[in-house]
């Protein structure tokens, strides 16, 4: 079928648009895959679910009394817990305003042998509120067991964040 100029131009335009769209989608999918961060709780990590992820987010509660500061740098270590797991975390930098004992926290980072090295620590919410996604993740990790409020109430007394 002979092509008149208009039709030819349209074909060129359509081809270009389709190619551009395909490129954009491919790039988008790639970028998305590279930057998807899963949220896992300590017990999920300990059962090996973090194995395949380079970077992921660790969510849980800061164990009372576990915050340890380094003497002469900004390095700080603490333990993140959920109902049946605990994970030591190492972080160098300034902690968020709401970070303290027995608070929910989400740390982004990677595993280094048995402990988690965080590059970012978030504790955005006030004391009565737990991020919904964290609550769900914790509920899921424990087969919808009620999220324990008093995992670490035993040592909350000696925690003394303030």
């Amino acid at each position: 079928m002979p092509m008149n100029p208009t039709r030819k131009r349209r074909l060129v335009i359509v081809t270009l648009v389709v190619a551009a769209a395909a490129l954009a989608v491919a790039l988008g999918v790639y970028a998305l895959q590279q930057n998807m961060n899963y949220l896992l709780t300590p017990s999920q990590v300990q059962s090996g679910q973090a194995g395949s992820y380079k970077t992921f987010r660790l969510g849980g509660m800061v164990k009372g009394g576990s915050i340890q500061r380094d003497k002469d740098s900004l390095k700080v270590t603490f333990t993140v817990v959920d109902a049946d797991g605990a994970m030591p975390v190492e972080y160098t930098g300034i902690l968020p305003d709401l970070f303290r004992d027995n608070q929910s926290v989400i740390a982004t980072g990677h595993m280094d042998s048995a402990h988690f090295v965080a590059t970012e620590v978030l504790a955005k919410h006030d004391e009565t509120y737990m991020p919904k996604e964290l609550k769900d993740a914790m509920a899921k990790a424990h087969g919808n067991k009620k999220m324990p409020q008093g995992v670490d109430q035993g040592d909350a007394g000696q925690g003394g964040a303030q």
């Binding site: 954009a24 930057n35 300034i94 902690l95 919904k132």
Partner: protein, 660 residues
């Protein structure tokens, strides 16, 4: 008694909104003038009651009426009066009331200034705005009543979220809502056009300033929000790709596409269906943005604890608005399509490419923002999408726009002249390359910074060349009509913004350090000396206040006082200290004491030097200015009167006449 009055006002407003929406739309359909005539008075009456309700809530805050639960939760006796007014929109219920209040401001303006338009069209436009009001008023009354009582009345209230206690935050929400809600006008126009089955160029001309003003407000709101994140969230970033920032950014991207598409439709009659579709998208994304922020579906700094009833209502409302308007579009859009054909090299094509990029960028942001919900629904686990996704995709999508931008004004409608474009390309390209080479020496070969300088010069020279051309070729007084001046301002804003973003991103130096009193840290030529922490107090907070003395070549530049505030309910808030400058900001934030018992000991501090960061907000403000200036063009007003006269012989180009 007064809160109940507020509730009553909202109920009456809902009834009036029903009258404002249903009767005029039926009237316009059946050609019943009496029913169409209901639109204006009903709009004014609804406006009266909504304003009344809003004023009553403000009054309750000013009078410390803690018997109102919302007031008790968001203010207390120590809160200064200006923050008590800001507290009206400090949480979910009040911000919904602010939304409907602003919708009524727009509706009233529209009802007042629309007398020249044909009656059925105005009836439909006001009807559609009425329907939106019905949705929001019902949402407020059934799920989010700001006037609910709290008994027994507490002696003192809670507190406004400390991050909101900042001068910038008092006007950020109203301004951003002016933008969000302003897109409802373009939306109502499009729906009215679809309902009526025709879209006159004159109506688009009339809608343009409204869209421009809404867009300018949204731009201003986003700039204010970014500034607030920088100064108030305490950690020096200006954009985090947080769901809530994305929520305001998506309508902005689509709105930017829309104001350009409207120009094409108004001047050439082309891209009608696309313009209508963009108006629907812009408003739908505004709605999504409003709800995303407040519903708590996504974890974000702005979200509040959620209420399942609200989520369901929101979902239904969104489905009705988005689904309904898209269905209407599918049924009626072919009827309004049309316009003049255009060549590949033409202003229409350039705008279309830009439009596609903006829309794809909005889709990209939408995907990244909603991905956690998608992952949840598909049972992929708890996923979030990191900022690098946006950081990679967005510049790539914006690159074609930046490259095309200098040519925009030179391109003719219909068919552009290639030699002129080549000349512009040679000059702007040469300038960009020259400046990039100079910059390469100054910035140590930082690629991002060099690219920023090149891109900014490319855009700026393009704009400047056009300014000079107009100056030479046109007689005085006709050189820069407001519409064109607005475009030039906004495009120059892009250049300024590019400098700000790329230079500050690539040349910033951040240092998280542990400092004892007397310690000195050096960044570039600046020496930061930490002089210890003392205690201080404000109206409703106490704080540890640090003192940092900055010197440059041993000459003192600034004494900075970063604070760590503790508000009434023990909420902690970091107040950073900023020493502003045109070529750099110095920024100090106080972390935590290394030893909680001895606040006069060592502290964690964050020190920043941020070159050219102010330019990115300046660029945003220039874009905003462009939007307002363009909206003030006389053409939008003068022709309207002319149209009112020749309404009998309209210049409409309907589908039948153009398309075969």
């Amino acid at each position: 008694m007064i809160p109940e009055l507020g509730q009553l006002a909202l109920i009456l407003a809902l009834l009036l909104a029903l009258a404002q929406s249903i009767l005029p739309i039926i009237g316009a359909w059946r050609g019943n003038r009496a029913m169409m005539a209901v639109a204006r008075p009903a709009a004014f009456a609804q406006g009266f009651f909504v304003v009344l309700a809003f004023v009553l809530l403000v009054w309750a805050f000013l009078r410390f009426d803690f018997s109102v639960q919302y007031v008790a939760e968001n203010s207390n006796l120590a809160l200064p009066w200006y923050y008590r007014i800001a507290a009206v929109w400090g949480a979910h219920e009040g911000s919904m009331l602010l939304w409907i209040f602003i919708l009524n401001v727009w509706t009233l303006a529209l009802a007042t200034f629309s007398r020249q338009l044909p009656e059925p069209f105005v009836a439909r436009v006001l009807g559609v705005l009425g329907l939106i009001a019905v949705g929001f008023l019902a949402f407020i009354l059934f799920t989010s009543d700001p006037f609910g009582r709290l008994l027994p009345m507490p002696a003192d209230g809670g507190d406004l979220n400390p991050v909101l206690q900042d001068p910038g935050m008092t006007f950020h929400p109203p301004v951003i809502y002016m933008g969000y809600v302003g897109f409802s006008v373009a939306f109502a126009f499009s729906i009215a056009a679809l309902l009526g089955g025709e879209l006159e160029q004159a109506w688009v001309r009339w809608a343009r300033p409204w869209t421009n003003i809404a867009w300018a407000f949204l731009t201003c709101g986003i700039v204010a929000g970014s500034w607030w994140a920088y100064a108030e969230l305490g950690w020096g970033g200006w954009w985090f790709w947080d769901p809530v920032e994305n929520a305001s950014f998506m309508p902005w991207l689509v709105g930017t596409a829309l104001i350009h598409a409207q120009a094409v439709t108004e001047k050439r009659g082309s891209l009608r269906a696309w313009t209508i579709l963009l108006s629907i998208f812009a408003f739908s994304l505004s709605l999504l943005g409003t709800f995303l922020v407040r519903s708590g579906v996504l974890t974000s700094v702005h979200s509040f604890a959620s209420d399942p009833r609200r989520g369901l209502f929101i979902l239904c409302f969104l489905v009705i608005v988005v689904g309904g308007s898209l269905l209407l579009y599918a049924l009626r859009a072919p009827k309004v399509a049309g316009g003049k054909p255009f060549a590949v090299v033409s202003r229409e094509s350039a705008i279309l490419v830009g439009n596609l990029m903006f829309t794809v960028a909005a889709a990209m942001v939408l995907l990244g923002t909603l991905f956690p919900l998608i992952g949840d629904a598909l049972n992929l686990g708890k996923i979030s999408v990191g900022p690098p996704y946006f950081g990679l995709m967005f510049p790539l999508l914006m690159l074609p726009i930046v490259l095309l931008l200098p040519f925009g004004p030179y391109l003719r409608w219909g068919k552009g002249e290639v030699p002129v474009l080549k000349r512009v390309m040679a000059r702007a390209g040469l300038a960009a390359v020259a400046c990039a080479i100079i910059a390469a020496f100054l910035v140590d070969g930082q690629m991002k910074a060099i690219a920023g300088v090149a891109a900014a010069v490319w855009v700026a020279v393009g704009v400047a060349l056009y300014v000079i051309k107009r100056w030479r070729e046109m007689p005085r007084g006709r050189r820069y009509p407001a519409e064109m001046a607005g475009m030039l301002f906004a495009h120059a804003g892009v250049a300024v913004f590019l400098i700000g973003v790329l230079l500050s991103e690539s040349l910033s130096v951040t240092r998280d350090v542990r400092m004892a009193p007397g310690d000195v840290q050096r960044i570039g030529g600046y020496a930061f000396r930490f002089d210890g922490v003392t205690e201080t107090q404000g109206p409703n907070w106490r704080a540890d206040q640090g003192t940092v003395t900055v010197t440059l070549n041993d000459k003192p530049i600034a004494v900075m006082h970063p604070q760590k505030r503790i508000y009434t309910r023990e909420q902690v808030q970091t107040e950073s200290a900023i020493d502003p400058g045109i070529t750099r900001d110095l920024y100090v934030a106080l972390g935590e004491p290394m030893d909680a018992q001895h606040i006069d000991g060592a502290w964690a501090l964050r020190l920043y030097s941020k070159p050219f960061i102010r330019w990115l907000w300046a660029g945003g403000l220039l874009m905003m200015l462009g939007g307002f200036v363009a909206a003030g063009d006389r053409r939008f007003r003068v022709r309207r009167v002319a149209n009112a006269q020749d309404n009998a012989t309209p210049d409409k180009v309907t589908a039948r006449e153009v398309r075969a």
